[in-house]
Amino acid sequence: MKFAILVNEGPYQHQASDSAYQFATAALESGHEVSRVFFYHDGVNNGSRLTTPPQDDRHIQKRWSALAADKNVDLVLCVAACQRRGMVDDGERDRNKKDATNIAEGFRISGLGQLIEAGIEADRLITFGD
């Protein structure tokens, strides 16, 4: 079965991103496909490479990036949400004349259409939020 996942909250503040990650890995281990994780609202903050969580704590961004690298999961950050919250890749940096980027490997910024498309193409769409 093909799952798509929607994450609406940022890392550490709410459990949403953790729950979504655990669900995604369990789905993959169960032999299912996870076609896309769409990060909306504060969820886009999961894609920052600038976090330094305490050493004895989980590293939420790195965990997601590893899922993209190892399992080919498509990690998409909503562009409008990124603009409101300061998540920037090379394209956004140039377009909005910013002087830095902060997006981590394995994440890409794209439109809300990617969420609708995931809802159409996946067998199930599961939302994690506050």
Partner: protein
């Protein structure tokens, strides 16, 4: 056609559990995750209402979240089944749609 309804907040904090239970269909399932898991343990002010909900639909609680909050040792409300994340995935696949009551 049946729905897997997910609630993630304690009903003492937010009304999402009450609001979900008011619109749950016969044959639907309810899965408590995150902070909502605390009321799957028996003995709270919500035990009666959940027991009665269990008569028209299946009740599940996410065991890792229950354990995190220190309730692995407490008896569950009648009708609840504990699942791990793979069990959660299986439920999402089994039911026709997933509705998160955020």
């Amino acid at each position: 056609m049946a729905t897997l309804n997910i609630v993630n907040k304690s009903p003492f904090e937010k009304r999402s559990l009450d609001q979900c239970l008011a619109r749950i269909n016969e044959g639907d399932a309810l899965l408590l995750i995150e902070d909502a898991t605390v009321v799957a343990a028996s003995g709270t002010a919500y035990t009666e209402q959940l027991t009665s909900a269990g008569k028209s639909g299946a009740l599940y609680v996410l065991q890792p979240d229950l354990e995190a909050r220190g309730f692995a040792d407490k008896p569950l409300v009648d009708g609840f089944n504990a699942v791990d994340y793979k069990g959660f995935v299986a439920l999402a696949a089994e039911y026709d749609r997933v509705h998160s009551w955020l």
